[in-house]
Symmetry: D2
Subunit: 177 residues, 4 copies
């Protein structure tokens, strides 16, 4: 789960590091999709990043919920940060997430692993109506068919849990996984 | 639950009457809403009809699922039949309904009652992006705030279960009911 | 989806065949599980049947909802019919299914296929607390780990859609699929 | 939301106060219910507490998720803390909550208000099979019918959001609210 907070003032780097040693940190994990006129998913958007050790990773849109920030606003903020201001996301109408991902610093406790912290992510599918382009430190945004995305999700390119959550999202949308 | 099938050929009137004495009939019950840019519901659309005994009723969009019809197509067909061809509905991306309404011909078995039949309805919230106008034998389409809709839902104008399902929908969307 | 109605009187064989040519038929598809004290799934129960053409099939518990039958009663009836009177099933507390499976007589419309009919099944996970034994024309009941069940679900032994729904259930329960 | 952490070592009082000024704090909000053999809710359990200003409040079981604690363990821990070691709770089999409650320190942002902090609570219904008794600083545990609970939920005795979440839970369970 990559994260770049562009807004200052909530927590300094040191304070965030301290909190991460003490509390579960609340995240949203977002599965960007395009749909046809029947709302069937036609493609899934995945970000391409390079890790510090030089490996390519495919990722969902993901980030922290800030103090005094509504979940709906966190969804919009992270989509804009990663996919740009013209993405025209449809925030889900219900706050009920399709899944909860519990990322533990210790591998193997759950299918989700984040070496930096204990994070609990609310999973949402976000339909995009506009033009998307990878922003910030993402190298690329790729649109895959649901079948291609489901296959990529089980490869090492989607390690750590994003692949698991992606397949849970596809199952929730009625797809065969 | 009013119903006018404009397509012929699935079941004759007599055959449908027979089936209704023997089998639960599958329905969709749709809660039409408009949302703001954060996907918060700003208004709920309710149809006005006059019953055979001359009473005014406020209703959701509702209708049968036909043989060999996908649920997504049934949602689109019933929205177009009741709200017109310019309504631009967003079919829910997941087939999972927010609720199941079991309408029994015998009152009191569940909060849902349909004197004509045993119907099982899948409840969905449908966001409308376009222009809506009451069609067919609906007299009017009214847009109410979520609060107004929640109040109307407990009056005799929404008897039989549509009011119950409407409040369940508002609860699912995070509203206080 | 195998089905043996042990109660008479709702529909004759001929009438049911007629209805199946005209209407979607309402089903429940049930995923039997055992859980530990944290409600984590420890095993999934699958029925073994032999098809008319002599092939072995692994199946979920599945069956029609009858006229004037509540969904909760249909769940209990089908579990008792397939797993015996001592199975002590926990019916789900919410009527909201985890998934909807649309079985079409035409293959390929959805991942779900039933050559006999258009059936729409509400998917539920059912926790079993008691002693289960295959009943009727099921040859055996096997308890698999979630991982074993997920693997079996993609083989021809679970064709027609039960395997798809099983994996959707495991995803809904938080498992990696 | 009352809270007494009986385990030491995660955060000192001062550290928790600091974190509460900086981060949303993750909670679980639990609706304790008893069910009949069809899993229909027969009663809802509410805790009675006295606030610092001397008012009686009816509350759900609620508490923080600790660092490196699984959600399932947090559910069990808070039920045992409030209802005793013989309550025999059934943790929900799916981690998907029925609702998300966003408690803001500023009243009016959402229907949920907590003057101490920004808390995000995952809502779950927990079936209790054993003997429950109010523990710690709760004065009493009352079992109400779903109808009684729904009525109490809109009174000042359930201010701050627990009443809202309780009614959302009843709606999710298929009740008329």
């Amino acid at each position: 789960m990559h994260e770049t907070e562009t807004r200052a003032g909530w927590l300094s780097h040191d304070e965030l590091r301290d909190a991460r040693d003490r509390l579960p940190i609340l995240y949203v994990n977002l599965v960007p999709v395009r749909v046809d006129e029947h709302s069937q998913v036609t493609s899934v958007g995945l970000l391409l990043r390079v890790t510090e050790s030089g490996e390519f990773q495919r990722e969902l849109v993901s980030g922290r919920v800030l103090y005094h920030e509504r979940l709906r606003d966190a969804v919009l903020r992270h989509v804009e940060r990663d996919l740009g201001p013209m993405a025209l996301p449809q925030v889900p109408i219900s706050p009920q997430p399709f899944a909860i991902a519990e990322y533990f610093p210790t591998p193997g406790v759950t299918p989700f692993h984040d070496p930096r912290q204990h994070a609990v992510a609310l999973g949402y599918v976000v339909v995009l109506m506009g033009d998307c382009a990878a922003q910030g430190n993402a190298l690329d945004l790729a649109w895959l068919t649901p079948e291609e995305a489901a296959e990529l999700a089980v490869t090492p390119e989607m390690a750590g849990g994003h692949g698991v959550l992606l397949r849970q999202a596809l199952a929730h949308l009625g797809h065969s996984v």
